[in-house]
Each structure stands twice: as structure tokens, then as C-alpha cells.
């Protein structure tokens, strides 16, 4: 296990060597995921540091999305999935009989590839999480909605029409709404599964800027098939191939001077 110094260093984080200094938020050990006979993840081990952006890259079907879904136990809802190994957040194991996934998902939020707002008002979308977890007070809810919409850089655009349907927003706005919705339950970790892949370049840039701002408050793990995006946005990058973790390290080093040949092949575009 990597030695962790209990100091959360402020940004910027591309200076090599400082990555090992951030405390570890998520510890993954020998994580294996099978869907029926197919092995989607093969004994993956990783330490994901706190308050950093960790990117997962690799060709389609390499297991990065499966990995992400293990971190909030969304794989539980796939009947054929079998999971071995351990995932720990702040030394609390996730895969443990006493752990209620519902409680876990307050700590670990998720944003999906294609934005999926509920066919409700903007306000009700963001308030959904807090309401479900028991927040009833109208003042409190309004406060949460405003706070998270500001965090998601969407407040200025929707403040005057919170009662309107979320489906009226553009694609990029909907995705930011989904981010606000995920933040509304006050998670510690934010998982993002190709959050900008369905968006145009301008909307993508806004999302990337958002990620940059959010990492001071949250630990972010992002799956992306866009290497340039990974390079722009993340502090650490993990390269997956065919279910195995090939290489994991500081982003700048991985992209400019990868240790493994497979990583270099992928990055230089020899395949995938």
C-alpha cells in the first residue's frame, strides 16, 4: 500500500511526486467482475487519492465502466454480475453484508454518459436526492438546490425558471443539471461515466471547467474514451485493457513517458 501523508496538498497537481502525497480515498484490491462467463475486470488493484481527478481510459470493452460501477455498487443491479475482491472508502469496505447500498450512494454520486434528468421540474430534479433521504424542510431544500446549481455553473441560466421542466434544457445544460442533482446529496466522491461524450465542444469545455472547480471539494473518478480530455482534466490516469489495469500514474507522466508498451501503443493511437 502506498504510504499516504495526511496533508491534502493544494493544486496544481501535475508536479510529479506530489500525487503520492494526497491521502487515499478509495482502495481497490484484486477486484474481479464477471458477467456470466465473461471476465470484465481481472484482479484490479488501485489507490485513488482524495480531492484529485482520476481518469480511466482504454478502448471499448476494457472494463473501465464496470470498474466505475463497482465504486457505488451499481453493478448490484445487473443480475448476471459476480464481484470478487474488495473496495474500501476511507477504510470502510463496500462489499460487506452490513453495508446498505442506499446509504453508500449518498457518499458516492454518479453522472451518466447520456444525461438522464427526470421528467420533472429543474427544482424537483435537484431536490430528488435530498427528499428521498429525508429532507422535507422547504427552506433547506431551496438552499441545497441553489448551492448545487451554482456549483454546477447552471444557476445563472435557470434561476428564474426552476419550475420549468428539465427536459426543456439543452444537452449541455441537462448534463450540468445531472451533476447538480448528484451533488445535492452531498457526496464525497463523484463518479462520471463519459460525461461529455454526447455533448458539443463548447458544452464539453464547460463540463471540463466544472470538473476542475469541483475537485477541491470532491474526489472525482472519470471514465473517458477521449485521451485529450483525460490529459486536460485529470491528475492521475489509469489505463485499462481487456479488464486488466495496465498502468496507473500521474497523468503527465503517463502521457509523455509511459512505463508499459501497451500504454504507449494506445496513447499513440496504434489501436483502439
Amino acid at each position: 500500500m502506498a504510504a499516504a501523508i495526511d496533508i491534502a496538498l493544494p493544486r496544481p497537481s501535475s508536479t510529479p511526486g506530489t500525487e503520492a502525497a494526497a491521502p487515499v480515498k478509495i482502495v481497490v484490491r484484486d477486484l474481479t467482475v464477471r458477467y456470466g462467463d465473461t471476465v470484465a475486470l481481472d484482479a484490479v488493484s488501485m489507490d485513488i487519492p482524495s480531492h484529485r481527478v482520476t481518469a480511466l481510459i482504454g478502448p471499448s470493452g476494457c472494463g473501465k465502466s464496470s470498474f466505475l460501477r463497482c465504486l457505488n455498487r451499481m453493478n448490484d443491479h445487473i443480475p448476471a454480475a459476480r464481484i470478487e475482491g474488495q473496495v474500501m472508502i476511507d477504510d470502510d469496505p463496500l462489499y460487506h453484508p452490513a453495508v446498505d447500498p442506499v446509504a453508500l450512494r449518498r457518499r458516492v454520486g454518479m453522472v451518466f454518459q447520456k444525461s438522464n434528468p427526470f421528467p420533472k421540474s429543474i427544482f424537483d430534479n435537484v431536490a430528488f436526492g435530498p427528499r428521498v433521504h429525508g429532507v422535507r424542510d422547504a427552506v433547506q431544500l431551496r438552499g441545497i438546490v441553489e448551492r448545487t446549481l451554482r456549483q454546477a455553473a447552471l444557476w445563472d441560466e435557470v434561476a428564474d425558471r426552476l419550475e420549468r421542466s428539465a427536459l426543456e434544457l439543452s444537452g449541455g445544460q441537462q448534463q450540468r443539471l445531472c451533476i447538480a442533482r448528484a451533488l445535492a446529496v452531498d457526496p464525497e466522491i463523484l463518479l462520471m461515466d463519459e460525461p461529455a461524450s454526447a455533448l458539443d465542444p463548447i458544452a464539453t469545455a464547460k463540463i471540463e471547467e466544472l470538473i476542475h472547480e469541483l475537485k477541491s471539494a470532491y474526489t472525482i473518478v472519470i471514465v473517458t474514451h477521449n485521451m485529450q480530455q483525460a490529459a486536460r482534466v485529470s491528475d492521475l490516469t489509469a489505463y485499462f485493457y481487456l479488464g486488466r489495469l495496465i498502468e496507473f500514474g500521474p497523468t503527465e507522466r503517463l502521457f509523455t513517458n509511459p512505463t508499459r508498451q501497451e500504454t504507449e501503443d494506445y496513447i499513440t493511437g496504434r489501436f483502439g
Binding site: 451499481m74 443491479h77 442506499v102 450512494r105 438522464n116 427526470f118 430528488f128 427536459l167
Partner: protein
């Protein structure tokens, strides 16, 4: 444009003609109802709808007992059938593994196909005696309430409502399940990822998303219940009187048509019956139109403000 050949012209004209005949047939149904009820409509006017005398001897007719009976049985039947039907639909769409759910749905869809007279058969010989016992027990405990008062025959409004509910439940299950399965998986995942329990996901996300479609299925079930004839007439008692008690015999529009149509010797009598048919036709038309509207909305997109 290809040159038109004789074969094409004939074929197209032929199929068009047959398609148009559907229009003609539907129009004829409406026309017959209007024309054949003219005598009664002229004799009784609009008061036909709220008069409760049904006297074939004195030739004074009012449809209120039948309208009341139809509405009461249908309303009660849906009150029983909708919770059960929706509950089962949720279980089959969200809880059970797909293979099991598909098998059970197949069985339930067979129930939809069982003929009305067969339901009536079981109704007469099984349900009526059972309801007699149940109603007696209820009356012993709560007989002071007007709803549960009066002589108990076994046949009556409540029995017919229960039988109708049994007939309508499979239909609600089948259609509602389809509607629920059409809710995109991404909506469910969004709710679960926010920390909702599966029930909260169903209640706050899946059901609201499917709301139009489910309402549509309820209206379709309503339309079916309105037109049910045989099973109802076998267990409702066929008495053209409005009573406060659920245990009293009653009559529905479809049932009186089934029983008295061939007995109607007088022209006005027949016209009154046809007018009842007209009213029934009109009500089912409206209900079906509402159902179509609701289900059409589901197919376009979910309601924007749920």
C-alpha cells in the same frame, strides 16, 4: 411515376374499397343506433337519462337504473382491480427476473382471453354462494350501515362488481406492465445512483414517468368493463331499481339489452332499448378516446411536468 397497369389499378381500388367499408360499417352502427332509437328519443327526450321508471307495460321508460348500475359496478370494479393490477404489474416489471415474469405474464394474458360467459359460469356457481356468506357476515357486523342493508340474495351489485374486477385485473396487468417496461433504464439508474431504494425509484421515478400510459390502461379497462354483458347479467340480479345497498340486485345497460331485447314487442319499447344501446355506445366512445389520448402521449414523450 410508373405507368399504371390494370392489375395495379384493380388491386388498389379493391383494397381501398374494403378499407372504406370499415368507415361505412362504423358509420352504419352509429346510424342504426340513432335511427332505431328515434321513437324513444322523441317520446322521452333528455329526461330518459335521469328517469328511473322502467315500465314496459305502461310504456314509460327511463334509463337511470341502468346507467346507475353500469357506473356503480364499473367504478367499484376498478376500485378493486386497479390497486391489485398495478401492484402485480410493478412486481412483474421491476421485481421478478425476466424469464419468470414473462412466463407469468403469458398466463395472465390468457385470462384476458377467457370468454365472458365462462367467467359468468364460475360467477354463478362459485362466486354467488361465496358472496352470500361474505355479505351475511358483513351484514351481521355492520348491517346498520345502509350500504350493507337489505335482503341478501348472493346476486347483486357487489357480486357483479367483484366478478367484473376479476375480469379486468389481467387486462390492467398486461397493459401496465408493457408501459412500465418502456420506461428507459437510464431513469432507473439515475434514481438508484442518488441513493433511492428500489421502491422509492418505482414510486418517484418509474410510475410518474409511466403515468400517462397507466392512466390509459385504466381507461381501456374501464371501456371493457362498460361493455361487459354476459358475466354481469348472470350475477347482478337484473332488477331495474336503484338501491342504497351494495347487496341489492341491480341492472346494467348491457345486461338489460341482453335480457329484454328479444322480449320487446312494442316499437317504443324496442326504441327505448336501442336508446340505451346508444347511450352505452356514446360513453364507450368517449372513454376510448380519452384512453387513446393518454396512451398516445406516452408514445411521443413523457409529460414534461410530472
Amino acid at each position: 411515376m410508373r405507368p399504371r397497369r390494370l392489375g395495379d389499378i384493380i388491386f388498389r381500388a379493391g383494397t381501398l374499397g374494403l378499407a372504406l367499408s370499415v368507415l361505412a360499417i362504423t358509420g352504419t352502427v352509429a346510424a342504426v343506433l340513432l335511427l332505431q332509437s328515434r321513437l324513444a328519443r322523441e317520446a322521452f327526450g333528455w329526461s330518459f337519462l335521469w328517469t328511473s321508471t322502467w315500465d314496459p307495460v305502461a310504456l314509460r321508460f327511463g334509463a337511470l337504473p341502468f346507467i346507475d348500475g353500469t357506473l356503480m359496478t364499473t367504478f367499484l370494479a376498478l376500485a378493486l382491480a386497479v390497486p391489485v393490477g398495478l401492484g402485480a404489474a410493478v412486481c412483474l416489471a421491476e421485481l421478478l427476473p425476466l424469464r419468470v415474469a414473462d412466463g407469468l405474464t403469458f398466463l395472465i394474458e390468457l385470462l384476458v382471453a377467457v370468454p365472458s360467459v365462462v367467467y359468468g359460469l364460475v360467477g354463478v356457481f362459485v362466486l354467488v354462494p361465496a358472496m352470500r356468506s361474505v355479505e351475511t357476515a358483513v351484514q351481521n357486523a355492520l348491517g346498520f350501515i345502509p350500504l350493507f342493508s337489505g335482503p341478501i340474495y348472493g346476486v347483486g351489485l357487489l357480486t357483479a362488481s367483484v366478478l367484473l374486477a376479476v375480469m379486468v385485473v389481467p387486462f390492467i396487468i398486461a397493459v401496465s406492465r408493457e408501459v412500465l417496461l418502456a420506461v428507459p433504464q437510464t431513469q432507473r439508474e439515475a434514481a438508484l445512483a442518488l441513493g433511492a431504494t428500489r421502491w422509492e425509484m418505482v414510486r418517484h421515478v418509474v410510475l410518474p414517468y409511466a403515468r400517462s400510459g397507466i392512466l390509459g390502461s385504466i381507461f381501456l379497462a374501464l371501456a371493457r368493463a362498460l361493455g361487459e354483458t354476459m358475466a354481469v347479467t348472470m350475477v347482478i340480479g337484473n332488477r331495474p331499481e336503484i338501491s342504497a345497498s351494495l347487496f341489492a340486485p341491480a341492472y346494467t345497460m348491457a345486461a338489460v339489452l341482453a335480457n329484454e331485447f328479444t322480449e320487446a314487442t312494442d316499437d317504443v319499447y324496442l326504441a327505448a332499448l336501442v336508446e340505451i344501446g346508444l347511450v352505452l355506445f356514446a360513453i364507450t366512445l368517449v372513454v376510448n378516446a380519452i384512453a387513446r389520448l393518454l396512451i398516445g402521449r406516452v408514445q411521443r414523450s413523457p409529460s414534461a411536468a410530472a
